[in-house]
């Protein structure tokens, strides 16, 4: 494998125009699988949610899950797609041990939804991403390769197969080539996936949790010299599984392609693996020739023909779409464009809303998600919501602050405790002894000591310079290691010195 000296992003964009294609797989949240009645619940014992059909037993047949078709149509409508009047499933033939039938039941040239678009916003600018198609298919099982260093099949001693996931309904959403984004291409990619995720969630068809593999993204990228019409050769970076990674993968591939091209090299059409830790990609499988999946119409299923009036019913019942909803929330929360954008960029809308739903005021919820939690997510390089703290826990922290049991500084320590796995907010408060000291007798002593230790300051306050009281409050806070309720300390200081606040 040749090591490439990357070209800087700016240099790459000075010479080349990136063209992207994004393929997103969404696992639908239906109760049962795509073609059988098995449960789709996560976390079950391996191979406990299987039947002859999803195991590909001889003789077993598929039956289409009507709820999955409805979800697919709703996704298609929300993406402004045409909905096929008549479409079929097709068999995609290839071998892999975690695919029970050795063909995937998918759709080929007759997708259920096609020719749509999704508008996304980057820095306040609307960018339209054209949708080529959205089609239905089934997920594969899961292989675990045991032994060997890489966790990949090569070098493994043996492999374990779990077919619980086999047959879970998937919708694959494919964009048309995304051109004209220039230096914003990585951000457009991220914004598109974020927008799509919100859309999927708003439709209620999937939780679309990327960290759980419920939504997976392939980033196809090529460069062409600025001014050239013809697309360059693309690389396909598979399974990029966070918003942040989508942006990083696109950025890395732009730099890598530019490096190869600027040295006169050629890009090999291949699949690439993205490495979260380094933000780089490495070569996977080289496609020496286009893979031949020998697609043909699935003879075990009858065509799907969504009735027009049903489609119109579904269209009429679409929920408020994310972009419009965002505008509404921005108004409700009274945020500037810039503040709203940073909430969006952080992927904080849902956690804030869920925190509000759990009883916190919106400004407080936003403060914690956008402040301490965003900072920590950034530091650890994880998605905001991938951190091990729930909106309900954040709401509880807000409540503790509001009732005066915690101050901000202590609340940050509680967050740290929760993230460290020390338990819920109340447990962390108890275990770390983080309650605010508002017991007047204990505080009184500390206040008296502070006044005694700072006679000059005390005199200033007595003479009416109320602002000088800050120094005394600070001294008390220091003495109580931050656990005192600052507002109450100030009251006590002024009271002791006979000044009205």
């Amino acid at each position: 494998m040749s090591v490439v000296n990357l070209v800087s992003f700016e240099d790459a964009l000075a010479s080349y125009d990136p063209v992207m294609g994004l393929e997103v797989h969404v696992e639908l949240g239906t109760a049962t699988k795509m073609f059988c009645g098995c449960s789709t619940a996560l976390g079950a014992e391996p191979n406990s949610q299987v039947c002859p059909t999803c195991l590909g037993m001889p003789g077993a047949l598929p039956v289409v899950n009507a709820a999955a078709v409805e979800s697919a149509v709703r996704i298609g409508l929300a993406l402004n797609c045409e909905i096929a009047e008549w479409c079929r499933f097709a068999r995609k033939n290839y071998f892999y041990p975690d695919m029970p039938k050795n063909f995937q039941t998918s759709q080929y040239d007759e997708p259920i939804a096609f020719d749509g678009h999704l508008d996304v916003e980057v820095d306040g600018e609307v960018f339209r991403v054209d949708i080529e198609r959205a089609h239905m298919e089934e997920d594969t099982g899961k292989s675990s390769h045991i032994g060997g260093a890489t966790g990949r099949i090569h070098g493994a001693e043996y492999s374990l197969l779990d077919y619980n996931r086999a047959g879970i309904p998937l919708i694959e959403i494919v964009t048309k080539p995304i051109t004209g984004a220039g230096a914003k291409a990585p951000e457009v990619a991220k914004a598109y996936v974020a927008e799509l995720r919100e859309l999927i969630r708003a439709l209620g068809v999937s939780e679309a949790r990327m960290e759980m593999g419920q939504m997976r993204c392939d980033v196809n990228l090529s460069l062409r010299p600025i001014g050239q019409e013809k697309f360059g050769t693309r690389s396909e970076t598979k399974n990029v599984n966070s918003l942040r990674s989508v942006e990083r993968a696109a950025r890395f591939e732009i730099q890598r392609h530019a490096a190869v091209l600027s040295e006169g090299g050629t890009i090999v059409q291949e699949t690439r693996h993205f490495h979260e830790d380094e933000g780089t990609t490495t070569s996977g499988r080289v496609k020496e020739e286009a893979e031949d999946y020998r697609y043909f119409p699935e003879p075990d299923l009858v065509p799907v023909a969504p009735a027009r009036d049903w489609v119109e019913e579904l269209r009429a019942s679409l929920p408020e779409l994310p972009r419009l909803r965002r505008r509404r929330l921005q108004q409700e929360w009274g945020l500037s464009d810039k503040d709203m954008q940073s909430v969006l960029n952080a992927g904080a809308i849902e956690p804030i809303l869920e925190t509000v739903a759990a009883g916190a005021p919106a400004d407080q919820a936003r403060k914690w998600w956008m402040g301490e939690l965003a900072r920590r997510a950034n530091e650890s390089g994880t998605d905001l919501t991938a951190q091990p703290i729930t909106p309900a826990q954040v709401a509880r922290i807000c409540a503790l602050v509001a009732e005066g049991s915690l101050n901000d500084k202590l609340a940050r320590q509680v967050i740290e405790g929760v993230l460290n796995g020390e338990g819920g907010p109340d447990e962390v408060v108890a275990a770390r002894g983080l309650a605010v000291v508002s017991d007047d007798s204990a505080l009184g002593t500390a206040v008296d000591e502070a006044i005694a230790a700072n006679p000059g300051v005390a005199d200033k306050v007595r003479s009416g310079k109320v602002a000088a009281a800050g120094a005394l409050v600070g001294a008390v806070m220091k003495a109580t290691r931050g656990q005192a309720d600052a507002a109450r300390v100030k009251e006590l200081v002024l009271e002791r010195l006979g000044v009205e606040g």
Partner: protein, 497 residues
């Protein structure tokens, strides 16, 4: 006591229902018959003695409790080894499934059990139903009870041979290109391919999904109708199954009246390549129908000549995909898994050892036909031919109620004669394939013995989709008239085994 193995299914059911005989006695008589003759015939791959006797006992118990029994309760049946049977081995005549015991019943199996039918065992077949002689079974050929050195037809040779050898009064076959009708013809028995979608395919191990259709095999038209009624009907587990009432096949089988019916003779099926004795008996059947008051006309279906090549593109294409699951991972044979080989190598070694030459030939043919760059020329063109054939049928059925032809161009040929000549073998299904491609219904009913070899000849009757009852109406009338003419059912002329 009379020989219970000579009873028709209808007679058996009546005798069991009335208490003249017990279902256990009936089952035991057939198990004894199997024990006596099947070493020679080799109709069965697996005899489920215990299961059969238990099912028979259950029928007797129900009768003892005064419960009403269905029209086939206590009647033994031979099940083609292509339908899954919970707890009973299912091999499809292939080494690759040797030892596989399915964890579930096919819908057809379940319906038979619910009807009180006593499943004696699983019958021999060409591997994965690919063949016209049962010689492609990995477990050795089946002999034709009329002449054990000859083939019993295929792929369902075991089922038809079991009927002709009086090992069972009923059997189940599957018909992808003629695998029920052609064995029926060459063994002097009745075989019906119902309309595609009439009988659930859930649990039928697929050869070619868009063509496969399970159906009844019997020694009489009425028995076939009774079995048809028991196994047909909508199944929510099979998306391609028809959600409509089953046509009145039993009623039709009892009519024995074809007066006023219009019968079309398919012009394209006859002439060169057809055995003279087959054509002679066929023409006699035409005259018989005319004598019974049917109006007989000649009908041309020009695209039928394209059916065979189209079939040999579509069926192998679907098979190449259907058989991909046999990869040694989850069930059946596994060869070479000694801890040093990759999954791919184990799969390759297993398939090399587990699939027979005809199966390999068709997988390769189908894989090629579906390849990008060839798809349109092969699979795509074949699908167009399919449309043309359907149109020919539509046009023909606009003028006639049923079509007739010989079921197969020749009588049973000697085992081994065509084994090395796939093209000659494929011609056995020349007349039967169009109905599979179009999805309509067809039957083979005996119409005599060819004078030159004294072997059975079949008359094929073809009806439009969902008009399966017409088959039974015509078949029942032909059967009754011939039986009267011969003085006995044709099978009485079969040699003793």
């Amino acid at each position: 006591m009379a020989d219970l193995t000579r009873y028709t299914a209808a007679e058996t059911a009546a005798a069991v229902a009335s208490g003249d005989v017990s279902a256990v006695e009936v089952a035991q008589a057939h198990l004894d018959r199997i024990a006596a003759v099947d070493e020679k015939v080799h109709a069965f791959l697996h005899v489920d003695t215990e299961g059969a006797l238990a099912a028979a006992r259950a029928v007797d118990d129900r009768r003892a409790r005064g419960e009403e029994l269905g029209p086939l309760a206590g009647v033994p049946l031979a099940l083609k080894d292509v339908f899954t049977t919970k707890g009973v081995p299912t091999t499809c005549g292939s080494k690759i499934l040797e030892g596989w015991v399915p964890p579930y019943d096919a819908t057809l199996t379940r319906r038979l059990k619910e009807a009180g039918v006593v499943i004696l065992g699983k019958t021999n077949m060409d591997e994965f139903a690919m063949g016209s002689s049962t010689e492609n079974s990995a477990y050795g050929p089946t002999g034709n009870p009329w002449d054990l050195s000859r083939i019993p037809g295929g792929s369902g040779g075991g089922s038809s041979a079991a009927l002709a050898a009086f090992e069972a009064p009923l059997a189940i076959g599957t018909d992808t290109g003629g695998s029920i009708r052609q064995p029926g013809a060459v063994t002097g028995t009745v075989g019906v391919k119902p309309t595609y979608g009439a009988v659930s395919r859930y649990g039928l191990v697929a050869f070619s999904s868009s063509l496969d259709q399970g159906g009844p095999c019997a020694r009489t038209v009425l028995d076939a109708a009774l079995l048809h009624e028991a196994i047909a009907g909508h199944d929510p587990l099979d998306s391609t199954s028809i959600d409509a009432p089953v046509p009145p096949v039993v009623e039709a089988a009892r009519m024995r009246d074809v007066r006023g019916m219009r019968v079309g003779v398919v012009k394209e099926f006859g002439g060169e390549g057809y055995q003279p004795g087959v054509m002679q008996r066929f023409h006699e059947a035409v005259e018989l129908l005319r004598g019974l008051g049917a109006e007989v006309v000649e009908v041309s279906c020009p695209s039928f000549t394209l059916a065979l090549p189209a079939y040999y593109l579509i069926a192998p294409s679907e098979a190449s995909s259907n058989l991909a699951r046999f990869d040694a991972m989850r069930y059946g044979l596994r060869v070479g898994d000694d801890g040093t080989r990759s999954a791919e190598d184990v799969t390759a070694l297993t398939r090399e050892a587990g699939f027979g030459p005809e199966v390999k030939r068709r997988i390769m043919l189908g894989t090629y036909a579906l390849s990008s760059g060839y798809y349109d020329a092969y699979y795509g063109s074949a699908q167009k031919v399919r449309t043309l054939i359907s149109r020919d049928f539509d046009a023909a059925f606009a003028g006639v109620d049923v079509l007739i032809s010989p079921t197969t161009p020749t009588t049973a040929f000697p085992i081994g004669e065509r084994a090395d000549d796939p093209m000659a073998m494929y011609l056995a299904d020349l007349c039967t394939i169009p109905s599979n491609l179009a999805g309509n219904a067809a039957m083979s009913v005996p119409c005599g013995l060819a004078p030159e070899d004294n072997l059975p000849v079949g008359l094929q009757i073809i009806a439009p989709a969902m008009a399966d009852d017409r088959l039974y109406r015509v078949g029942g009338a032909v059967e009754a008239a011939f039986t009267e003419k011969w003085g006995h059912p044709l099978l009485e002329e079969a040699p003793a085994l």
